[in-house]
Amino acid sequence: MVTTRASTKYMTEEQAMLFNAFDPLSGKRLQVMDEKGDIVDAKWMPDLPDSKVVEAYKVMLYARIADTKSVSYQRQGRLYTLPSNMGQEAAAVGSAMALEKIDWMVPAYRELGAWLVKGATMLHYFLYFGGSEEGSRYPEGTRLLPVSVPISSQLCHAAGIAHAAKYRGDREVVITYFGDGGSSQGDFHEASNWAAVYELPVIFFCNNNGYAISLRRDKQTKSKTIAQKAIAYGMPGIQVDGNDFFAVYRATHEAAKNARDGNGPSLIEAVTYRRGSHTTSDDPTRYRSADEEKAWEAKDPMIRLRKYLEKKKLWDEDREKKHIEEATSDIDRQFKQFEATAAPTVEDIFKYQFDEMPDSLKKQMVELRNFINRKEG
């Protein structure tokens, strides 16, 4: 028998169904599609046109290629340290696609696929990880925040953005990402508690990729799942197969609907695996085995979505090749554009610190500029 949690009591019966069916303490995890690309739980299959699913796969593949290329550019010294998203594309793209344009995305730093869906381009990515703040200058209205490196601090901003939305009566929803490691931070607790107390439209989306740098998930928290932490805050939580595009999409879609209807926040734990290193400066062989990596390779999110599409005759080797070609040339073009971008000027360093530059800062700017002019004669 499924008990109904207090945290789902504001929802309609239909809304509460998914969260009640996968109560975090029941040990159940939402999986719609298995590793072979077969639909194993049709009940929760999201209602998506085929074209959308193809589009999702294309973005995932694009992100995979972009990611792989970025790592090699970094190895060549053409980009700086960067965190790979490889293996986590379904969680990134599936969650982002379940949102609407008016919704906000408050990222951590490892959700490339999600940013691309939200409106970032590879040029932004290259600029940022190539060492320029210009990479966080997204087009007006993108509603995507810059990455947040201090772990889980961004969860507070998501709560605040949602607070402002609710204050104005706007129906926008905020999704924010964090990792399994991030669930140990105080800000995870503070933001979850705040969002629940004020019933704010926030989706706390945890990418549980098994590790926080070298620390295994089972050493990060004694909780059996991260999803179950939701219960303490009085919000619904659910654990999903994070490598299953459909499960991720469905859970995020329900969470967004609930939030938009004024039912408050929820927590989604996407169980996935970081197939690359933590960042380009990290060596995973120090803390995990080749066998483990191999086992997760078989669960890769790209493989199963491709199998699904091929079985439905929506995709084949030719299309795969063509898309890889197109994506590669698009990414190359943007990388060239990045490499041709002028270095920041002295003004660029100073002019965004304040709305109006204080005199003391103007003085520092002039001193630095004069020195450089003198030096360069």
Binding site: E133, R137, P150, C156, A158, G160, I161, P358
Partner: protein, 325 residues
């Protein structure tokens, strides 16, 4: 005009801004129903409702962190941290986000937020309730730090702080919350952030102070006046950005400088002011710049407090020695 103490003047500033700007919201621990532990927000929830003036969970990081998010999404949050010594749980949010969101996003997002906190010592309080850590905040690129010394200034500066498009740390000297009463207009007026005030003109020495220390210095100056000494007193009002011109012009005239603050000495605001004067008015100096400050120790519990904070005698002594040098 009404006569107000600083608590009432700050309340009045919040009242004025809540009334004329629907994007202003006020929140903090016990700041709603009760009106805050110092009653600074008293009556505002009753007047503007729970949506605009509210109690928060007991959690400083999210008080500031949610404020960052609210500001990004179009509000002007004014949050209260219950005491100066409890800002630290929010430090990450202040330094890593509030202070740099504008720069990091190339101006796409900004954080027009005010963080208010009762500040400073002298009220015989518990541990962690007497701190003067303004240098920590003034050191962080992207923050403005304001410390008023009078009810009139408190109101005008707070209105400016709320209207400012960047984050402002607004420290309220709790020792003088109710000590000074003054005529304060009930309506809206502004005092520019970054502008010091010359409270007394003189030509032998420039004294720079701010917050509750202004009163202490004024007591010392009464004695100095009897001794026939001519001292110029500058109330800094804003720690960052600092009004360099007012200080430099004054020192060029007087040739001597004394800075007084409650904060610990090393790397404190006085060090910055003295460095500034050395850079800009070195050849005008007739005596080494002096400072009267708190100690590089933790603020003592109430029995030892009077030893720690500079009093009028210590200030007078430094005035005399600097002029007699």
């Amino acid at each position: 005009m009404a006569v107000m103490n600083m608590v009432q003047a700050i309340n009045s500033a919040l009242d004025v801004k809540l009334a004329d700007d629907p994007s202003v919201i006020v929140f903090g621990e016990d700041a709603g129903l009760e009106g805050g532990v110092f009653r600074v927000t008293e009556g505002l929830q009753q007047k503007y409702g729970e949506k605009r003036v509210f109690d928060t969970p007991l959690a400083e990081s999210i008080i500031v962190g949610s404020g960052v998010g609210m500001a990004i999404n179009g509000l002007r949050p004014v949050c209260e941290i219950q005491f100066d010594g409890f800002m630290y749980p929010a430090f990450n949010q202040i330094i890593s986000h509030a202070a740099r969101m504008r720069l990091r996003s190339r101006g796409t997002y900004s954080v027009p937020m005010v963080i208010r906190a009762p500040y400073g010592g002298g009220i015989r309080a518990l541990e962690h309730h007497s701190e003067s850590m303004e240098a920590l905040y003034a050191h962080i690129p992207g923050l403005k730090v304001v410390i008023p010394a009078t009810p009139y200034d408190a109101k005008g500066l707070l209105i400016s702080a709320i209207e400012d498009n960047d984050p402002v740390i607004f420290f309220e000297p709790k020792k003088i919350y109710r000590a000074i009463k003054q005529e304060v207009p009930e309506g809206e007026y502004r005092i520019k952030i970054g502008k010091a005030a010359i409270l007394q003109e003189g030509d032998q020495l420039t004294v720079v102070a701010y917050g509750a220390m202004i009163r202490t210095v004024q007591q010392a100056l009464q004695k100095a006046k009897k001794d026939g000494l001519s001292v110029e007193l500058i109330d800094l009002r804003t720690i960052y950005p600092m009004d360099a011109d007012t200080i430099i012009n004054s020192v060029k005239k007087t040739g001597r400088l004394l800075v007084a603050h409650e904060a610990p000495r090393s790397f404190g605001p006085a060090a910055e002011i003295i460095a500034l004067v050395n850079e800009e008015a070195f050849l005008h100096l007739e005596a080494p710049p002096a400072r009267v400050t708190g100690m590089d120790t933790v603020v003592p519990l109430p029995k030892g407090e009077d030893l720690y904070f500079p009093d009028a005698d210590r200030v007078y002594d430094a005035i005399k020695r600097t002029i007699d040098f």
